[in-house]
């Protein structure tokens, strides 16, 4: 007992301090390093590329325009190819500056200078000049951490724009990714454009991802293609964050469930008896924009017409 007490007298302080240090570190880990990123964002604020306000607005506008262009091109393509099936994603994103890179060499992550106070949520979609950037992994008040699609743990459902062959893509670090096809003999050539696929559970369809660099059809178990990502993440300064397409109550958001939820909403939006039978048809709700249907903008228009 005495020796224990003597040991405690000698080492008690040290043990206590170490316990506090570990507990503090554990606290930081549990809060996803929010404190550190907040301090980082505060300190780097003067160094963040903040040109004149005019410049900034110009840049944002240009980005939004090119974003819209890409969006419209994709929609046009799909409209032609998949007659009757349209998903429109309205560009209403939050423009966020890129303030930090990954804190570790194994992860492909970036830190954005906007957070939950600007309306960014976990799982939001991040796009930039050139296409898809990644997905928001964690959010603090003024920063958010994005897992890039070039990270090996990132999986994205993608499709070859020309032949509509589908597969999934996993990152390979830097600006390369590997696409594995679902088909045994996919129709794919180097140079083909790759975009997110309509069956992707995490990303909206039709966001450009990259270009096929080389193809390996003899690869087992599935044919593979190396994809060069179209977003120059190393030089990117601004990105756009859009809300995720995951519905809070629906984990599976493949097209059929989405149609179901809309067809159940449709009779409530259109109280008119003549319109409700049409709305119940599974093919009818498709031309409608899912975002429009949820933001309750159509009902006033519908009421104005009669």
């Amino acid at each position: 007992m005495y020796s224990l007490r003597r040991w405690w007298d000698r080492h008690g302080l040290q043990v206590g301090l170490v316990a506090i240090a570990i507990a503090g570190a554990w606290g930081v880990q549990q809060t996803q390093g929010a404190l550190i990123f907040e301090i980082f964002s505060t300190i780097t604020r003067p160094f963040q590329s903040s040109p004149s306000a005019q410049d900034q607005i110009e840049k944002a506008r240009m980005m939004a325009q090119s974003e819209r262009l890409v969006e419209l091109e994709n929609q046009n393509l799909k409209l032609k190819e998949l007659l009757g099936y349209v998903t429109k994603t309205k560009s209403q994103g939050i423009i966020a500056p890129l303030i930090g890179r990954s804190s570790d060499h194994w992860w492909q992550q970036v830190t954005l200078g906007r957070g939950s106070s600007d309306g960014i949520k976990k799982d939001d979609i991040v796009t930039g000049a050139g296409g898809l950037v990644g997905r928001v992994q964690s959010v603090s008040a003024n920063t958010s951490r994005v897992l890039l699609i070039s990270d090996p743990s990132a999986r994205v459902g993608v499709t070859i724009s020309r032949s509509r062959n589908m597969g999934f893509m996993r990152g390979q670090g830097a600006n390369r990714a590997v696409m594995e096809f679902f088909d045994k003999v996919p129709d794919v050539r180097p140079g083909d454009m790759v975009s997110t696929s309509p069956v992707s559970e995490l990303f909206p369809a039709g966001i450009p991802v990259g270009r096929v660099e080389s193809v390996n059809l003899s690869k087992s178990p599935a044919p593979e293609a190396i994809i060069e990502l179209s977003v120059p993440i190393n030089v990117l300064e601004w990105v756009e964050v859009k809300p995720s397409k995951i519905l809070p109550d629906k984990q599976l958001s493949a097209p059929p469930p989405v149609q179901d939820t809309r067809s159940t909403e449709e009779p409530q939006i259109y109280p008119d008896g003549s319109q409700s039978p049409e709305a119940e048809k599974p093919s009818e709700p498709q031309p409608n924009d899912p975002i429009d249907a949820s933001t309750e903008t159509p009902p006033p228009q519908e009421q104005d017409q009669p």
Binding site: Q14, V18, A21, I22, G24, A25, W26, V28, Q29, Q30, T31, Q32, G33, A34, I36, F37, I39, F40, I43, T44, I99, G100, R101, S102, S103, D104, H105, W106, W107, Q109, T111, Q137, P152, S153, Q172, G173, A174, N234
Partner: protein, 175 residues
């Protein structure tokens, strides 16, 4: 100076240096990267800390910093394991007095420890089984070597001021 104030000041300086390392971590300053990979500042700090301390303190610092880095990236695979082991190994090295303690030897220790730390991370990835082994170990070569070279080059920047400070504090403590 009063011993209590001195101890408090010592703690504050140590914590400030640690915070500085944490804040540099997500930034990629120009001229400080190799293939997009920067120095592993936390590892440099852990080595600087452990070089003249016991294994217990080395491991504690490594685990604490590892947990913080886990929070800043992802908890799986854990950095606490690799940095903890780095802390223990560095403290052990000092005990045997194989290496004289100066700039170059610290840079060498950091070089070796970077390889060890990235190796441990790669082993953890291998056990997780999310990725193929060839991919992981190709990555390990790239990440391990780049980070080892850069970390060892930048190690004196962290080590020198901290070593001088802690040395002076110890001198005051003993006098």
């Amino acid at each position: 100076m009063h011993p209590q104030t001195r101890r408090l000041l010592n703690t504050l300086v140590t914590l400030a240096s640690l915070l500085l390392c944490l804040l540099i971590l997500p930034s990629r300053l120009p001229g400080m990267t190799l293939l997009g990979i920067g120095p592993n500042w936390l590892l440099i700090w852990v080595v600087s800390w452990s070089v003249k301390r016991s294994q217990f303190l080395g491991a504690a610092a490594g685990i604490a910093l590892g947990l913080i880095q886990d929070g800043m990236t992802s908890a799986v695979p854990s950095h606490a394991i690799s940095l903890g082991i780095v802390g223990i190994l560095t403290a052990r090295l000092q005990k045997h007095r194989y290496i004289q303690e100066d700039f170059i030897s610290v840079a060498l220790i950091v070089f070796g420890m970077s390889l060890v730390a990235e190796g441990i991370t790669a082993v953890q990835y291998s056990f997780l089984g999310q990725r193929s082994l060839t991919e992981i170990w190709d990555d390990q070569q790239l990440v391990g070597l780049s980070s080892a070279i850069l970390s060892s080059l930048w190690a004196p920047v962290v080590y020198f001021p901290l070593n001088v400070w802690w040395g002076r504090m110890k001198l005051l403590e003993s006098s």
